[in-house]
C-alpha cells in the first residue's frame, strides 16, 4: 500500500474502515433540510452542493444543521440504498451520531487540518475510525 498523499486527524470517530470518493462541502448539512430522502440528492435551493448525490460518498461537512430527523433518517436512507459511506464533520451534534450509530454508518467529528484545504470533491480517500484519520489516497479525475 502506497503512502497517503495527505492525512487528516480526527477528534472522535465511530464505525469500520471505509474507502471512497469524497464530497467536500463548505456548507453544513441536515438530512431533513437539505436532502431528498428518496433520491439521495441535495435538493435545498441554494445549498452549495445542490444537485449532488451523497450515495456511497464520504461526505465532509463543516457543521451539522438542525434537526432531530437524522436519528431515523440515516437508517432509512441506508435501507433505501442511497446512504453515504461515511460522514466526516468539523462540528456535529448528537443527533447525527445517534443516527449514524443506529444505521452503522461511520461518523467522525473534529478535524486537523481542515479538509477543505487539502481534499477536493472527487478525490479518493480512506477513513479509519479506529486510528482517527482520513487519508487522501489519490486525486480525482
Amino acid at each position: 500500500m502506497s503512502a497517503p498523499l495527505a492525512t487528516i486527524t480526527l477528534a472522535r470517530a465511530f464505525g469500520p474502515v471505509v474507502e471512497g470518493e469524497a464530497i467536500v462541502s463548505d456548507e453544513g448539512f441536515s438530512p431533513r433540510y437539505d436532502l431528498d430522502r428518496w433520491t439521495g440528492l441535495i435538493t435545498k435551493p441554494g445549498h452549495k452542493l445542490e444537485g449532488l448525490s451523497i450515495k456511497e460518498k464520504i461526505c465532509f461537512f463543516p457543521t451539522a444543521k438542525g434537526g432531530i430527523a437524522a436519528g431515523w433518517a440515516f437508517n432509512d436512507i441506508k435501507a433505501k440504498g442511497i446512504a453515504p459511506k461515511a460522514f466526516v464533520f468539523g462540528v456535529t451534534n448528537p443527533v447525527m451520531v445517534q443516527g449514524a450509530v443506529l444505521a452503522g454508518i461511520p461518523i467522525t467529528e473534529g478535524w486537523s487540518p481542515d479538509p477543505r484545504t487539502i481534499i477536493r470533491t472527487g478525490d479518493h480517500v480512506r477513513l479509519d475510525p479506529s486510528r482517527r484519520v482520513v487519508e487522501l489516497l489519490r486525486r480525482g479525475g
Binding site: A69, G71, D76, P94, V101
Partner: protein, 416 residues
C-alpha cells in the same frame, strides 16, 4: 464507560433483548462523546412518524416491540406527519396513512404516550431545575435546558426511545455542568421584539452565525419580561439555524441570575459580543427573495401553536376570508385544539377558511412535495423562522413575515 451492576445486568440480557440492544446502542453513542457513565432520567420525548422513519424505521420499531421493548419512564411523542381527519383532503397516501397507524399502535404497545406534540414543554410536562430528561425535537431540548434548567441533549428518535427503555442516558453534552456555560454575549438593548417573528429573526441571526451545538448564547439588555411563546420562537430558531441546545437570558433563565453566573464565574475579557437591534431585524425581513411574488401559501406551524397564539390568530382572522386560490394552515396539539374549540377560538378560523390541523407539523406532512407541485405553490410565507429554514428540501422559497402581515397576506393573496 463505567457500568453499574444494574447496567451490566441489562447488557447481559437479564432485562430482555430489547433492553440489551437499547443499552448497547446507548453505550456506542456515549463512547463517541467520551461519556463516563449513565445518569437516570425521569421523562423522554420521541420523534417517530412514518415520513421520517420510512419502512426501515417502522420495521425497527416492530422488532423492538416484538422483543419486549417497554418504556420504564413516561415518554411522549412529537408531532407526526398525518392528521387522519385531513389526509384525504390533502391528498396524502392511503398506504402511508395505514403505516402511520401501525407506528402509533407499535409505540403504544411499548408504553409510549402518543401525544403528537412538539410543545410538550407548554402543554404536558415542565421538568424542574437539574432534572435529567431525554427529549427529542430540538425545540423541546433548548427549552428544557434554557427555560427549565433541566438537562438534556438532542435525543433523536432511537436515542429517546432507548433512554425510555433503559431509564437512563449517557452523561455527555448538556448533562454536564461544563457545557452549560455561556459562550458569547448577545445584546438586545435596542431590539423592540414586538412580534413572535422578530424573536425568530433573532434566533436566525445568532444561530446562523454560530452554527455549533455547544455554543451557548447569553442574551442581555432586553427590557421587559419575555413571554413563553416568544421564547419558544427564539429557542426553535436558535436550535434550527445554529443547531444550538441551550441559551441563557440574564434575569430570565434559571441558570443566569447574573452575567457572571451565566459564565460560571467571571466573564472572559475577550468574550465575543454581538448586537441584535431593530435595524438588523428589519434587514432580515428585507433579505428574502420574493421570486415572482407568489403569496398563496401561509403557514402558522413549526412549532405548534399555543392556546394564546390560537386566540391571537382567531382575533386577526375574525370576519375575514382566506383569499380565493390561497391556502392557510395552522397546526397545534390535540389539547390546544380542544381548548380552542371550547373557548370559541376555532370557529372564526374555520369560517375564514383556515385549515387547522391537529397533532402534526406542516413541514413534515407526508406527501408535502407532491402537495406543493399539485397546488403550484412556489413561496411559503410564515411567522416562524424555524419553518422558514427547515422546509427547504421540499423546494419552497420561504419568506418570514410578522404575524399580522401573514394574516394580511393570507387574506389578500398579495405579498408586500
Amino acid at each position: 464507560m463505567e457500568l453499574t451492576a444494574d447496567e451490566q445486568d441489562i447488557l447481559a440480557g437479564k432485562s430482555g433483548e430489547a433492553a440489551r440492544r437499547a443499552l448497547a446502542y446507548q453505550i456506542e453513542v456515549g463512547r463517541f462523546f467520551g461519556a463516563r457513565r449513565f445518569v437516570p432520567i425521569t421523562n423522554a420525548h420521541v420523534m417517530g412518524d412514518i415520513e421520517v422513519l420510512g419502512d426501515a424505521g417502522l420495521s425497527f420499531l416492530k422488532e423492538m416491540r416484538e422483543l419486549g421493548a417497554r418504556a420504564r419512564i413516561p415518554i411522549t411523542t412529537n408531532a407526526r406527519c398525518i392528521d387522519f381527519a385531513w389526509a384525504e383532503r390533502l391528498g396524502q397516501d392511503a398506504g402511508e396513512c395505514a403505516k402511520e397507524r401501525e407506528v402509533i399502535a407499535t409505540m403504544q404497545g411499548m408504553n409510549v404516550l402518543t401525544t403528537d406534540t412538539c410543545i410538550n414543554y407548554q402543554t404536558l410536562y415542565q421538568p424542574h431545575v437539574g432534572e435529567r430528561v431525554a427529549w427529542g425535537d430540538t425545540g423541546t431540548c433548548i427549552h428544557a435546558n434554557s427555560l427549565c434548567g433541566a438537562r438534556t441533549n438532542f435525543e433523536s428518535g432511537p436515542a429517546a426511545l432507548a433512554a425510555a427503555i433503559t431509564g437512563r442516558t449517557p452523561e455527555y453534552g448538556f448533562q454536564l455542568d461544563e457545557h452549560r456555560r455561556g459562550s458569547f454575549i448577545v445584546d438586545l438593548s435596542d431590539a423592540t421584539l414586538a412580534d413572535l417573528a422578530d424573536w425568530g429573526a433573532v434566533g436566525k441571526l445568532v444561530g446562523e452565525s454560530h452554527q455549533n451545538y455547544f455554543a451557548v448564547p447569553v442574551f442581555t439588555g432586553f427590557r421587559r419580561t419575555p413571554l413563553s411563546d416568544e421564547l419558544k420562537q427564539l429557542g426553535c430558531a436558535l436550535a434550527s439555524y445554529g443547531s444550538m441546545g441551550m441559551y441563557h437570558m440574564i434575569g430570565v433563565t434559571p441558570e443566569a441570575p447574573t452575567l457572571e453566573a451565566a459564565f460560571h464565574g467571571s466573564v472572559p475579557a475577550d468574550v465575543e459580543r454581538m448586537v441584535v437591534d431593530d435595524a438588523r431585524i428589519e434587514a432580515v425581513y428585507r433579505g428574502y427573495d420574493l421570486g415572482d411574488g407568489d403569496a398563496r401559501l401561509v403557514v402558522f406551524s413549526g412549532p405548534q401553536l399555543s392556546l394564546f397564539e390560537m386566540k391571537t390568530l382567531s382575533e386577526l382572522f375574525a370576519g375575514r376570508q382566506v383569499a380565493r386560490g390561497s391556502a392557510c394552515f395552522v397546526t397545534t396539539s390535540n389539547g390546544v385544539l380542544s381548548a380552542a374549540r371550547k373557548l370559541g377560538y376555532l370557529d372564526p378560523l374555520e369560517k375564514a377558511g383556515v385549515a387547522v390541523l391537529e397533532g402534526v407539523c406542516f413541514y413534515i406532512l407526508q406527501n408535502l412535495t407532491p402537495m406543493r407541485e399539485k397546488n403550484g405553490w412556489r413561496n411559503m410565507i410564515s411567522n416562524s423562522a424555524k419553518i422558514v429554514n427547515i422546509i427547504g428540501a421540499h423546494k419552497f422559497r420561504t419568506i418570514l413575515r410578522r404575524t399580522a402581515d401573514c394574516v394580511e397576506i393570507a387574506c389578500t393573496g398579495k405579498l408586500s
